[in-house]
């Protein structure tokens, strides 16, 4: 009831006279006090914090682009890694490997993540101890270091009986485990944001909980789920630490052709070339970073765009 009473009061506050009165109060009391030297210094400090973040991002992109500038050529995308002619080395195997990794990671993580999130939001009784255990566990998993997921995937692969190291499947398992908490947490938030009225309306017409979830809740939550999935995948694209644990080779000279194929990934090649001492490798690494950044920032931008564009306010 209180919200019903509040609303007209809020609206009256937006009437011109009320707004003018409020602005006068701010001018005479609030704003002038905000202009004392300490307050201005404090505000400058806050501005500086944001500026540092922006400046670092710009410096990082500019520095890498300048270092990599001599290597923006077709060889970068079409040729394999080459130790004989490092000035013409390319990232074909890494780019294709990353694409294979992304597709298999998404196939493993997205259905599992959405299913778990739907269970926790629509079916689970959050008072039960086992559901609470799942919740706390998820929060923990979200902050487990990525390199530990690499060790876990090594264990899973040996249980599944794959002797050969460095194949697509192992990397996909590690990355899927890594992004699963991200997908679950963001999907839960998207599902939770769907108003109860939509569920009640569907249930009142005789739909079961599952029919309500599948036909009403999930379609309404798609923008949020898409945002979470894209953010998860963009995190997976840049990960190299778990792949390192799985013995993903640093240099491969053929295209991967299946989930059991040996492969390398773009971040792994960047890591390898960054740790080399030759300057030509540094240029190649910088150019590859620009490629990776374009991929990652495009995915991030897409996620932010979807969130802003399709965000519903019911």
């Amino acid at each position: 009831m209180s919200s019903l009473i509040d609303q007209p009061a809020d609206r009256s506050a937006d009437r011109p006279a009320a707004r003018a009165a409020r602005e006068t109060v701010q001018l005479t009391a609030g704003r002038s006090r905000d202009r004392t030297p300490t307050a201005l210094l404090f505000l400058t400090g806050l501005w500086a914090s944001l500026a540092i973040a922006v400046v670092v991002l710009v410096a990082l992109i500019l520095d890498t682009a300048i270092t990599g500038a001599p290597r923006f050529d077709a060889d970068l995308l079409t040729r394999y890694d080459s130790t004989l002619t490092p000035e013409r080395t390319g990232f074909r195997a890494g780019i294709l490997g990353t694409v294979w990794l992304m597709i298999s990671t998404a196939l493993l993580a997205v259905p599992l993540g959405i299913a778990a999130a739907v269970y926790l939001e629509e079916f689970a009784d959050s008072e039960r101890w086992y559901n609470r255990l799942v919740e706390v566990n998820l929060q923990n998993l979200a902050a487990v270091p990525s390199i530990v997921y690499g060790l876990l995937a090594v264990g899973v692969m040996s249980i599944l009986g794959f002797e050969r190291k460095g194949i697509v499947l192992g990397g996909a398992i590690a990355l899927a485990l890594l992004i699963l908490p991200v997908i679950i947490i963001t999907t839960r938030e998207a599902v939770r944001a769907v108003p109860e009225e939509i569920r009640f309306g569907s249930l009142a017409l005789g739909a079961t909980v599952w029919q309500t979830t599948w036909r009403q809740v999930l379609p309404s939550a798609i923008p949020g789920i898409a945002t979470g999935t894209i953010l998860g995948l963009s995190r997976a694209i840049g990960e190299a630490a778990p792949l390192l644990m799985l013995g993903i080779p640093l240099a491969v000279r053929f295209d991967p052709d299946g989930v059991l194929s040996e492969m390398t990934a773009l971040p792994m090649q960047i890591f390898f070339m960054t740790s080399q001492s030759q300057v030509t490798y540094q240029h190649a690494a910088a150019a590859a970073i620009v490629v990776l950044l374009v991929l990652v920032l495009a995915l991030n931008g897409l996620a932010i765009f979807i969130r802003n564009k399709f965000q519903k306010s019911w």
Binding site: S49, Y119, A240
Partner: protein, 310 residues
């Protein structure tokens, strides 16, 4: 509720719709299967945790059969872990010295000062910083921060690899984590508290520092603790920029190896499965998992306390 009291009378079998039991759903075996599948997916997350512990424990027991616990937790020798812990502490400390003021400043600006429009622009920029892959930050630390910023611009005498550059960049990497969670905590402080403060004649700086920040303190602390856990577990920056030499030094200009850096280096080497070096990988991994687990539990507890406040 009222309908149930009317149906107790003799009129129950009269009406055409007098079949309350039929309101109960028809048995739908398909949906039961779906529900089991959904619950199984949720339980998979618990299975992952036990999987991590199981995958780590087996090689670790072999490791402690080969190397004594005292030697592992020692300061010298091939299998000593304390220099790695020291390196991790040093880089994490530098990272926090960067990330806490910068992240908190950004959060306070976004929550207390920024207009809706500028927040809409600035928040995504911070999120982009979080999206940069860590191997890219490693490259940036090695080829920009060390030679251009530290050696050139600031004139500090540091080596090619050093804990300072790695820690600084690690700090920048966790700024978005600290900033976004702190902003959530600050924004959750009720408007009435700000209005009360302003009504008493405080300006916005005083309101922010003396009213809003203390009220959101446990949420802010949780954000810092989560950032700490990220910094402890980050691999690529420290593997590239901190160095590959075990070094129990307290001079940030020295190269140091962290726990994750050690794991990255060992995994690159050709150690046969079952060898002492290979098993030590898992021992360090387990130690790292336990440390971050403890930090995360602290963070979750803090978040719960901050949610209960309002």
């Amino acid at each position: 509720m009222s309908t149930s009291s009317t149906t107790t009378g003799p009129s129950a079998p009269a009406g055409p719709s007098a079949a309350p039991p039929s309101l109960a759903a028809r048995p739908r075996p398909g949906e039961a299967v779906i529900k089991v599948f959904l619950a199984g997916s949720a339980l998979a997350s618990v299975a992952i945790t036990f999987g991590i512990i199981g995958a780590l424990l087996e090689p670790v027991t072999h490791f402690f059969g080969q190397v004594s616990v005292g030697e592992f937790f020692g300061t010298h020798g091939k299998y000593a872990v304390l220099p790695l812990v020291g390196g991790t502490l040093m880089t994490t400390l530098i990272a926090l010295l960067v990330a806490v003021p910068v992240g908190l400043g950004a959060a306070m600006y976004l929550s207390e000062y920024a207009s809706r429009r500028s927040r809409k622009v600035l928040k995504p920029v911070l999120e982009l910083l979080a999206g940069v892959p860590s191997v890219v930050y490693g490259f940036f630390a090695l080829f920009f921060v060390t030679p251009t910023l530290l050696q050139g611009f600031l004139g500090i005498n540091v080596g090619f690899t050093n804990a300072l550059a790695a820690g600084l960049v690690l700090g920048i990497m966790i700024v978005p984590t600290v900033a976004s969670l702190s902003e959530d905590a600050l924004s959750a402080v009720p408007q009435a508290m700000r209005q009360g403060s302003l009504a008493l004649g405080a300006n916005r700086m005083q309101t922010t520092l003396r009213v809003v920040l203390p009220a959101a303190l446990s949420g802010v602390a949780a954000a810092v603790v989560l950032g700490l856990s990220r910094a402890v577990g980050e691999t690529m920056i420290v593997a590239l920029a901190a160095g590959a030499r075990k070094n129990l030094s307290f001079d940030p200009r020295d190269p140091m190896q962290t726990m994750t850096g050690f794991m990255a280096q060992t995994a690159q080497g050709e150690n046969p499965v079952g060898s002492v070096d290979y098993n030590m990988l898992f021992a360090v991994g387990l130690l790292l998992f336990v440390i971050t687990l403890v930090i995360n539990i602290i963070s979750i507890t803090l978040v719960r306390r901050f949610r209960q406040a309002y």
